[in-house]
């Protein structure tokens, strides 16, 4: 089974959970004997994990023949399905109106960034930057053409694309090659932005999901969103839960003696609307009324951070509420290992891999019920994200009753044994097989 996988993130070219998920998934697929060609917008020399063929879309030569074939199908894919013409715009996900205005100004001041380079007559290429910088739409458009050029060079049975950035490319490749298309949805526009959606992004999502032969959702929650918002037939959507790869934890972290009498509660994630950081802070305020010797840590950055720092000072809880900033690699591990409780109060979380990572360090977790991961974790504490009193009550309980934390950790450890990428890979393989007719 050869799979052409189109993705926007892959470690170490990573910004969030998407890359982590793609890595675990492809690794497990490779172990099961599948050959994966993974097309990223741009790769650096640093990362080639060895179990798959990683290709960079940026700089791929599009020759005359390819351009002509793309032209013939490309119009229908872009104009008919998506009704969208690429324009220069600084749109990125997780953008507030203020930030958008600022970014637009900057964009107009700067020159165009990814120039089309003609190599010879009729042959040309683009340079892509990757990530979610300004001009994302433009990049998405160009990525779709470059990915097509790669697709024409490679042999594969199935196209598997991850999130909306790669859906146009997937549709284009499907139209060109006639191979079945699997659209994997890790997060919908409605998860990222609530009701204030970016209509262009939503249009691409809709086109991709409707045009796909099969849709893979990361949770039942996401499946419901996809079915209700985009009108995708329910039977076309399969739920495949994410998992987590257990790393070899080499480092043993020791809690500094001066901190031993205290407990630490952690929030780790983007400080944006979707992740519900303000509910975490409100819960912290309530907990601090009841329990001493506890510190709250908010790790991550995002557009809500300045406002929350102000809020913490207004509430006079700054002495016990710390902002750790954006953490990387080793720091993240250390943060997890030293925590007594991990809280994920997300307003909307299609899956949410971080609680699984916290559990690798035997940290009990408190999840919002509005998250996909709570469907697979039975032995986690759960609360509705808006019910901060309930959340605070549960935080207090974990801090005060060692029996509770112990029981949760013990049962979660058992549960983690069943949450494996191998299971997800098996599900995906059977989807591929049903689409290719068992080849």
């Amino acid at each position: 089974m050869q799979i052409l996988m189109l993705g926007w993130e892959f470690p170490p070219h990573i910004s969030g959970g998407l890359g982590t998920a793609c890595f675990g998934m492809t690794q497990a697929l490779a172990q099961k004997g599948a050959k994966v060609i993974f097309v990223l917008p741009k790769t650096s020399s640093a990362g080639d994990p060895g179990f798959l063929k990683l290709r960079s879309a940026s700089g791929t030569v599009i020759n005359y023949e390819a351009a002509r074939r793309m032209q013939s199908v490309g119009d229908s894919v872009w104009q008919d399905n998506i009704r969208f013409l690429p324009i220069m715009s600084p749109l990125t996900p997780y953008l507030t109106p203020e930030a958008y205005t600022k970014a637009l100004k900057e964009l107009h001041q700067s020159t165009r960034f990814s120039e089309e380079t003609a190599i010879s007559h009729g042959t040309f290429t683009y340079q892509l930057k990757g990530g979610y910088g300004p001009g994302l739409m433009e990049e998405v458009y160009r990525y779709s053409r470059l990915a097509c050029a790669i697709a024409l060079q490679e042999k594969f049975d199935v196209i598997h694309v991850h999130d909306w950035m790669t859906y146009p490319a997937g549709l284009l490749v499907k139209a060109l090659t006639g191979k079945p298309l699997v659209c994997h949805i890790h997060a919908t526009e409605y998860d990222r932005s609530g009701e204030n959606i970016n209509t262009q992004v939503a249009a691409i999502e809709r086109a991709g999901l409707l045009g796909a032969d099969r849709v893979v959702a990361v949770s039942r929650l996401t499946r419901d969103v996809v079915v209700q918002r985009y009108g995708v037939p329910r039977e076309k959507v399969t739920v495949v839960y994410n998992a987590v790869t257990r790393p070899e934890i080499e480092h043993h972290y020791v809690i500094p003696p001066r901190l031993r009498h205290e407990k630490r509660v952690l929030f780790l994630g983007r400080v944006t609307y979707q992740k519900g950081p303000e509910y975490f802070m409100e819960a912290a305020r309530l907990v601090l009324q009841k329990v001493q010797h506890v510190r709250f840590y908010m790790a991550g950055s995002g557009d809500m951070l300045p406002g929350l720092i102000r809020r913490a000072s207004q509430l006079r809880i700054g002495r016990r509420f710390h902002f750790a900033g954006f953490l990387r690699g080793e720091e993240v591990n250390r943060m997890f290992a030293l925590s007594d409780l991990y809280v994920m109060p997300s307003v909307s979380e299609p899956f949410g891999i971080t609680p699984l990572e916290a559990m690798l360090y035997d940290v009990p977790v408190l999840l919002s019920r509005q998250s996909g991961v709570s469907e697979v974790l039975h032995h986690a504490l759960k609360a509705d994200f808006w019910d901060t009193r309930d959340m605070a009550d549960k935080i207090c309980a974990v801090l005060q009753h060692p029996a509770l934390a112990m029981e949760i950790v013990q049962n979660c450890r058992e549960e983690m044994k069943t949450i494996r990428w191998e299971n997800a890979a098996e599900q995906l393989l059977s989807i591929y097989q049903s689409l290719t007719g068992g080849n």
Binding site: L286, K290, H378, H379, L381, K382, R389, D390, A392, D393, K394, C396, A397, Q400, H401, A403, L404, M406, E407, I408, N411
Partner: protein
């Protein structure tokens, strides 16, 4: 001749609120009245009233040939009295037929026997008195919550005046023997043991509605046929059932009521079978052997152990926390506190904390919490509030006592002075004593008022 011993256990818990840390020391309303009331009404309609009516008719029809034994927990009685007194009336009607033996248990349906023998004895005595008051019957047979029993308890139960205990016929206890004979305790030979026939009992309680079961649907005739076969080489077939079996665990649609209605006739068709209650059985049949029950056992479906109630750290933590207050609460003797303390002992609350709950929930006894962890958190907050109340009351009592002691010591010194002065002038002694007595009497009302004020 073999006896069919049909014992039905009635128990309903009060539902507790989702009680948060922000309620602690703010309010002490632990119970979810709406939910308790709804459940009581619902269960009365679909289970207790129709079943009791059928039982009453059957008893009337068979004129002494159909007999049953009933146990009613204290919390169930409380609930019935509070919300559905018609259930109490229907039970009283059954009692008046003379064909129903009432069995005693611990009032709050508690696990007290494991943590405090004094508490256990107190609860059983109270409940036995209550059964006598309510139904006019003096229980002679005892069944513990969840059929809990172990050697430890034998002598205690015997001393409480019971001649029989019902417990589980677990395979590890029986070994080569079978449950269908009368046994005696190895520690208290006067105490009879009647063991549940697990197979036949679960045929009705668990498998009756299972369409995947190869004997489904089960008719009364088939069931009576199985009893008859076993009865050829048995003294007593003990069917111990949760009352919920009729109408709740098996719904009306499953045909359980028709099954019950047809059962006596089907059983009595076999000439070697007859219905007896525990009290009659121990008179009629000899003790076949003595049994030592070294470890506590229950009627839990998996393994007959205590894991459903005390299987994990949360459950143990919660119950230890509660019973650590037992002595203090009893010695203080505050009525409200005692009431809440007993209520909180109901075994269901610990079952809600079972992490095996996800796999083994009974739809007729739903876990009101989202998860066992929520159950534990809520319960611990309640115990914390209870402790808080207890401490405050104790402090109030102590401060009033010190006041009284001060007063008492001052009057003592006065007395001593009197005596001294009496020795000096023996003639005028009687005249001098009077004023001191008067003084102490006049002081005492004010002293008594002090504790009342502080306790409020």
């Amino acid at each position: 001749m073999a006896a069919i011993c049909l014992c039905l256990a009635i128990h309903e818990p009060y539902y507790l609120r989702r009680y948060t840390i922000f309620d602690v020391a703010g309010n002490s309303l632990y119970e979810d009245d709406d939910r308790s009331c709804n459940m009581a009404m619902q269960n009365a309609q679909s289970c207790y009233l129709p079943t009791n009516e059928i039982l009453y008719r059957l008893i009337q029809r068979f004129k002494g040939d159909f007999r049953i034994a009933l146990s009613v927990s204290g919390s169930a009685l409380d609930l019935f009295e509070q919300y559905t007194p018609e259930v109490i009336d229907s039970l009283k009607a059954l009692a008046e037929t003379g064909c129903v033996e009432f069995i005693s248990e611990s009032g709050p349906h508690s696990l007290a026997c494991l943590y405090s023998k004094e508490e256990f004895v107190h609860q059983v005595q109270e409940h036995t008195r209550r059964i006598r008051r309510t139904f006019g019957k003096i229980p002679n047979t005892f069944r513990n919550s969840e059929l809990l029993y172990g050697n430890d308890l034998a002598q205690v139960i015997e001393q409480l005046g019971f001649s029989t205990v019902l417990t589980e016929g677990s395979p590890q206890l029986l070994g080569w023997r079978n449950a269908n004979f009368v046994y005696a305790s190895s520690v208290a030979p006067q105490l009879h043991l009647l063991l549940r026939n697990a197979d036949l009992s679960t045929d009705i309680s668990q498998r009756f509605s299972q369409k995947s079961w190869d004997r489904w649907p089960l008719t009364a005739d088939t069931f009576a046929g199985w009893c008859a076969k076993i009865g050829e080489n048995a003294d007593t077939i003990n069917l111990f059932l949760d009352f919920h079996v009729f109408g709740l665990r098996n719904t009306v649609e499953s045909g359980i009521f028709s099954f019950l209605e047809a059962l006596p006739q089907a059983i009595l068709q076999h000439k070697h079978l007859h219905f007896l209650t525990p009290r009659q059985i121990i008179k009629k049949y000899p003790v076949s052997d003595t049994l030592a029950v070294a470890e506590y056992q229950s009627w839990n479906d998996e393994g007959c152990d205590l894991k459903g109630w005390l299987g994990n750290e949360m459950q143990k933590d919660a119950i230890k926390e509660l019973y650590s207050l037992a002595k203090r609460i009893r010695s203080l003797g505050d009525e409200n506190l005692l009431h809440d303390f007993e209520r909180l002992q109901t075994s269901d609350y610990f079952h809600y904390m079972s992490t095996r709950w996800f796999s083994e929930s009974q739809p007729d006894r739903p876990n009101p919490y989202h998860s066992p962890y929520d159950a534990y958190i809520s319960y611990m907050n309640i115990t914390s509030d209870l402790t808080d109340r207890l401490t405050k009351l104790e402090e109030a009592k102590r401060s009033s006592r010190t006041l009284r002691n001060k007063a008492a010591s001052s009057s003592q010194t006065a007395k001593a002075q009197n005596i001294a002065s009496a020795k000096k002038t023996s003639v005028s002694a009687s005249g001098e004593k009077k004023p001191t007595r008067k003084r102490s009497l006049s002081k005492s009302p004010t002293q008594k008022r002090v504790p009342k004020k502080t306790s409020r």
